[in-house]
């Protein structure tokens, strides 16, 4: 009899070697453990362990062999046992349960099991403690460290224990909340949550006093007290996360708010100007949709998952990516995800910031490298396991992300324009339709996620807000929806369960029919003991809500079940404008839909001009040009991100046409493309850009640069300028402060101006307004770290022909030219951070000049005049030419005859926008000159095909070997 199965790999695993290397200890072994809630007899033990292990590569540990087997590896003396806290998603355990169910479907039902990682070492206790800190996160895992002797003892005596969710058996009785209390008491409800009978608080609702007063008035008018469920629901629905109150608020003299005026306003203006069918579905659905070709629509959505990733980087990031995948599944009648994008804004992984959420070094912020690694692997597992290619992304480092990392996750989806003759992007839940919940079960995951991500990260932030995505459950569900149900038109509407859970998804869909009635006791749970309000707002992942006509319900459920997916009837949509929730026949929520969605008090915001923090002048460090290039190339924001690109499967679905690593020399590109339909030569080009480094100096120009770069990268890749759409993701800080709001307003204004100038519509967006950390440093001093305002612009465009796709590699004899003029714009550049600068400015985008260059580039490219091209961004021309040389492994030579009183360094490293480095075959120059006017380009050099890059400055010649540059460019990022 035993209650554990433990398996180890006979040979050293990759994970073991990297641990051994990292900790400089050859005696480290990892065991995969499974702890069962009851004892297994010998027969079951043998059967199950055979099912979950591999005879050839693994050894199953038994009471008899454990000592002998392990001693053959080393004289271990310390053990760390890492397992998930009760209630945290344990994907491996789910699989093992499924294996047992599938293959031994008799006699073994009522059991629980948990997966456990056991690490053995020979070393000191400090060593094992250090390892445990790198391998586990106390927020979601229990970490037990004990001597090896005890481990053997545990084995002998069946002492391995599984952590089970133990919730008190509680009988629910309807809870009414008295709001006729003092303002102070009222605001406590908003800040700390509803008070339980034992005086404890449930956790923040994120409701301000004014909102609570509005709620009080509503209920006093209908002459009853609100229930707890009603208050929780209003808190979710009215959260900043769901309602975007700041973007819709009156701000200074902008009555309609910045979203309506600047973002939606830009798109409306563009639609009015363009008069075409490019824009299909904007702002109203889970993602924004544009036309791909005559038969297909593509959609794109980018989300952030910042706060959860600060607490549990892996879980936060995987939840972020599989969550935004669901936004595609919830676009129209359900789009198939065909590409993922990512952008991470992180603190330096090589630095120790030592931040704490509480005084006296308590509740530490996770180390920067732990966060970075966790985020990178979370998106890897989420994307790879879902079979969605992840071609496009970037990473940027700045100390100001030490309190909150920014994790942007995006997904592109595709859907036929018509399904069974009906427009696929239109959906409508009809009165009488059944509310069906499909996918995963509901637990306490992410309770208060929506309300909490709208708040600053402080000690009272609830840890139950952490979720871990389960890509396989989602993949199973997604396959049924996209392949089977959708194309038979079996449901009338669909949306995903993300922030706010059922309260949000059903609430949104019910707008289409009128209202809804939900029976919460029908919702399948992960474990017993959840309160109705918890079921209603839980953010357990991998769930979609469908509106299914009653006649189809049986068929739909059967189809889900046949694919191993759970689907449950939990209510119905009604015509009446009422939101009604019942629990075992007791009505616990009954609100007017209008009040639920629009009842919240509108904000009235004022802005004020901020103090501009100018970067201090830095003395230029004397070094050679070649040396400067090496320094810039190896700096974290320029250095190759190849190690991420090779971890993220970008080839799955066989659509990759412009890959993340470009040229024989594998340069990390700033745009990528996929060709989603085998029998159409059109491709989708993707890029993104953000310039947080420019935000504090001039937020308007910062936004201009982001739009320009994201747009330019697609033009350079070969996209049709009439088929480029953009997405906005504002990640701001302290958005209750007038100067931060000023920056926001300025950035939004630039969004309008540049989008309209480029006629590139916003099709979707999201904002996250409070990316601040309030806590303490190691001396106990209180600190606030705010991210620099960051506007990520993601661009998506259609490339009409394969021949329009460009490359970044010039050929021997090519002439090299820079399109666009270079100004002295070194302030806040990579150069200024590393080398220094004297007097300079931030880049400012002149949209008129830029457009002329882009249109001409497009024309020249279509005519086959351009041989290769690369957008010039961080590090300026100097880095762009070096990247071209590294990618092509071909030497280049430059003659730096400079105009405009500009120095060599200014010319080579300035980050002036709207410039493109191109190469032409010599014989194409006359045709090129017919298109471009002389003041729009500078011939700077040619491709020699040698093994060096050579710069000629008057008589001085500076030379560097391409292979040396490649070495600098491909250095590891320290700490990762």
């Amino acid at each position: 009899m035993t209650n554990t199965i433990q398996i180890l790999s006979i040979e050293k695993t990759g994970k073991e070697s990297s641990l051994q290397k990292e900790h400089n200890n050859k005696s480290i072994k990892i065991i995969d453990g499974y702890f069962f809630s009851r004892n297994l007899d010998d027969q079951k033990f043998t059967k199950i362990s055979k099912l979950i292990s591999n005879d050839v590569s693994q050894t199953i540990l038994t009471k008899k062999n454990v000592k002998k087997v392990l001693s053959s590896y080393s004289n271990f003396n310390w053990v760390v046992e890492i397992k998930f806290l009760p209630g945290v998603t344990d994907n491996i355990a789910t699989t093992v349960k499924e294996i047992i169910k599938d293959n031994l479907n008799s006699s073994f039902k009522s059991f629980e099991l948990g997966s456990t990682k056991i690490i053995l070492i020979k070393g000191r206790k400090e060593d094992i403690t250090k390892i445990s800190k790198n391998e586990a996160n106390p927020l979601i895992q229990t970490i037990k460290i004990y001597p090896f002797k005890q481990y053997l003892d545990n084995f002998k005596k069946n002492q391995f224990k599984i952590e089970k969710v133990k919730l008190p058996k509680k009988k629910y009785s309807k809870k009414e909340i008295n709001l006729d209390i003092s303002d102070h008491q009222l605001s406590l409800i908003g800040k700390l949550g509803i008070e339980e009978n034992d005086k404890s608080r449930r956790g923040t609702l994120g409701l301000d006093l004014e909102s609570l007063k509005v709620i009080r008035n509503y209920f006093s008018a209908i002459k009853r007290k609100p229930t707890d469920v009603e208050i929780e629901t209003l808190a979710q629905t009215w959260s900043e996360h769901c309602k975007h109150k700041i973007f819709s608020a009156k701000i200074d003299d902008i009555q309609e708010g910045i979203f309506k005026k600047y973002i939606k306003g830009a798109t409306e203006k563009i639609i009015q100007l363009r008069k075409d069918n490019f824009c299909v579905s904007l702002f109203t659905d889970n993602a924004g949709g544009i036309e791909f070709n005559k038969d297909w629509i593509i959609c794109h959505k980018v989300e952030t998952h910042n706060t959860p990733s600060a607490l549990d980087p892996f879980g936060g990031a995987i939840t972020g990516i599989v969550g935004v995948n669901r936004d595609c599944l919830g676009f129209g009648k359900g789009a198939k995800p065909i590409a993922n994008t990512y952008a991470y804004y992180l603190a330096d992984p090589n630095k120790k910031y030592q931040l704490y959420r509480q005084k006296n070094n308590k509740d530490p912020m996770l180390p920067a490298n732990f966060i970075a690694k966790g985020i990178i692997s979370g998106v890897r597992v989420g994307g790879n396991c879902s079979g969605i290619p992840t071609p496009q992304g970037n990473v940027y480092f700045d100390d100001r992300f030490a309190g909150k990392p920014l994790v942007f996750c995006g997904t592109v989806g595709i859907i036929p324009k018509k399904i069974k003759g009906k427009l696929s992007h239109k959906k409508k839940a009809n009165p009488g339709d059944i509310i069906l919940m499909a996918g995963g079960r509901v637990g306490k995951d992410g309770i208060h996620g929506a309300t909490f991500s709208s708040e600053e990260l402080d000690p009272n932030s609830p840890v139950s807000a952490v979720q871990i995505g389960d890509p396989i459950t989602q993949k199973k569900m997604s396959d049924v929806i996209i392949r089977e149900l959708r194309d038979e038109n079996l449901y009338s509407s669909i949306t995903d369960n993300g922030a706010g859970g059922l309260s949000s998804s059903i609430g949104e869909m019910a707008k289409e029919s009128g209202g809804f009635i939900v029976n919460l006791e029908k919702v399948p749970l992960k474990y017993n003991g959840l309160y109705p309000w918890e079921i209603w707002v839980s953010e357990s992942q991998e769930r979609m809500t469908l509106a299914v006509p009653p006649a189809n319900v049986k068929k739909v459920i059967k189809r889900f079940n046949a694919r191993g997916v759970e689907a449950t009837i939990i209510g119905k949509f009604i015509k009446k404008d009422k939101a009604i929730v019942k629990y075992n026949k007791t009505e616990i929520l009954n609100l007017d839909m209008e009040f639920l969605h629009e009842g919240y008090p509108k904000l009235n915001l004022k802005t004020s001009f901020p103090k501009i923090k100018k970067e201090k002048k830095k003395i230029i460090k004397k070094s050679s040009l070649i040396d400067k290039l090496h320094k810039l190339l190896s700096s974290p924001n320029i250095v190759s991100k190849e190690f991420i690109a090779t971890q993220y499967d970008h080839e799955v679905q066989a659509t990759s046409i412009i890959k993340p690593l470009q040229g024989e020399g594998r340069v990390f590109g700033n745009a990528t493309a996929i060709k989603p339909i085998f029998d159409d030569e059109k491709s989708i080009a993707l890029s993104q850009a953000a310039y947080p480094q420019y935000a504090e100096t001039n937020p308007y120009d910062m936004a201009g640069c982001s739009i320009d770069t994201a747009y330019k990268n697609l033009i350079v890749s070969g996209a049709n300028s009439k088929k480029i759409a953009i997405l906005d993701n504002f990640c701001w800080c302290s958005s209750d402060e007038p100067d931060r709001l000023y920056q926001l307003k300025e950035a939004a204004k630039a969004c309008y101006d540049y989008a309209v100038a480029y006629q590139s519509p916003f099709i979707s967006g999201k904002d996250s307004m409070f990316n601040d950390f309030k806590g303490f440093d190691k001396t106990g001093k209180s600190v606030k770290i705010s991210i620099p305002p960051t506007l990520l612009i993601s661009s998506i465009g259609v490339v009409d022909k394969i021949s329009h796709l460009t490359k970044i590699t010039p050929d021997d004899g090519d002439i090299l030219l820079v399109l666009g003029n270079t100004c002295n714009e070194l302030q806040d550049s990579v150069y200024s951070k590393i080398i220094g600068y004297e007097k300079s400015k931030n880049p400012v985008v002149n949209s008129k000049d830029a457009l002329r260059i882009y249109r001409n580039f497009e024309k020249a490219n279509k005519l086959g005049i351009i041989n290769s091209a690369i957008g010039i961004d961080l590090g300026g021309i100097g880095i762009a030419v070096t990247k071209m040389a590294i990618a092509s492994k071909k030497g280049l030579t430059f003659d730096l005859k400079l105009k405009n009183k500009i120095s060599v360094d200014q010319f080579l490293f300035s980050e002036t926008q709207s410039r493109i480095l191109v190469s032409l075959k010599k014989n194409k120059l006359p045709n090129f000159k017919k298109i471009f006017k002389a003041s729009d380009y500078t011939i700077i050099g040619k491709c020699t095909g040698s093994d060096v890059i050579e710069f000629k400055d008057n008589k001085k010649i500076m030379r560097g070997k391409i292979s040396d540059f490649a070495k600098s460019y491909k250095q590891n990022i320290k700490g990762l």
Binding site: T13, G14, K15, S18, D32, L51, I52, S53, N54, D55, V56, S57, Q58, N91, I92, T94, T95, E98, I99, D102, N103, R380, N384, C385, S386, G387, D470, P471, I472, K475, K476, D479, A562, R563, G564, F643, A645, T646, Q647, Y648, D649, H650, E651, V652, Q653, A654, S656, I657, K659, Q662, G663, E664, K675, F678, I802, L805, T806, K807, T809, D811
Partner: protein, 254 residues
């Protein structure tokens, strides 16, 4: 000529795999594993059975293990039967891991799995293009091919083979593909030419008849010329190297 392509529980390359077969002249369909278990007899209507790449069961308990166990419990005899006929089976990436876990390849002792696929030596997921040479050109899948340029994308692609078995694998000529370096010589374990540290640079194995091929690289992702990295700098035919494998299946039945 009909091909049946398996799907379900996280397999995810079924569309492009079926597409590749269709372009070379096959008819066929994608089938969910549960539907096949419901009606295994339909295998009789097909000449090729393909297990595509993916992440069945999220790679939990070892890549390919859980799906292999499900097949073993529910479909094993039918699949063995299929493999003994004049028919073809291919497992790509996760499909390869499943075939290996089923013991259908190399299938020398016809009982338990004899080979394992373990984590890449680098400890990382590796998505990159590699060159492989064909070592067993008797397999119908690999006839008349000398080398191939294909992408791999896996976390667990390192073939682990007990020494004695490796001897008989070699004696029986069951190594399908081996990783080679830029000089077209065996990679000798050198990264990144050999992306996972596989013993003897093995990238694919076959059974004794050669009609069952378990390969880690993805031919369906190197099907068209535009799949090939830096295709713009190369003069290419319409198809990439992966096409050859699918075309060989066509030729076998033609």
């Amino acid at each position: 000529m009909n091909v049946l392509v398996l799907s379900g529980y996280g397999i995810n390359c079924e569309n492009e795999t079926l597409h590749a077969f269709k372009v070379v002249g096959f008819k066929g369909k994608i089938i969910h594993i549960n539907d096949l278990i419901q009606n295994p007899k339909q295998l009789n209507n097909y000449q090729v059975f393909a297990i595509p790449g993916g992440f069945s069961y999220g790679d939990d308990t070892g890549s390919g293990n859980a799906m292999a166990k499900k097949i073993m419990t529910n479909l094993y005899d039918q699949l063995i039967d299929f493999s003994l006929k004049d028919k073809l089976i291919i497992g790509i990436c996760n499909g390869c891991q499943i075939l290996i876990n089923l013991g259908l390849v190399p299938s020398l002792n016809k009982k338990d799995p004899e080979v394992a696929l373990i984590e890449n030596k680098s400890g990382n997921y590796e998505c990159r293009w590699v060159d492989v040479k064909v070592s067993n050109n008797k397999s119908p899948w690999l006839k008349n091919i000398s080398t191939l340029n294909l992408p791999v994308a896996h976390q667990e692609g390192q073939f682990m083979i007990p020494i004695n078995l490796l001897k008989s694998i070699k004696a029986n000529n069951l190594i399908g593909l081996q990783y080679i370096n830029h000089r077209k010589k065996l990679a000798k374990g050198q990264f990144p030419f050999n992306p996972n540290g596989s013993k003897d640079d093995i990238a694919a194995l076959t059974n004794q008849n050669g009609n069952v091929l378990a390969m880690m690289p993805h031919p369906e992702r190197a099907f068209y010329n535009y799949h090939i990295p830096n295709w713009q700098s190369k003069t290419l035919k319409k198809f990439g190297d992966g096409y050859k494998i699918f075309m060989n299946a066509n030729k076998f039945f033609a």
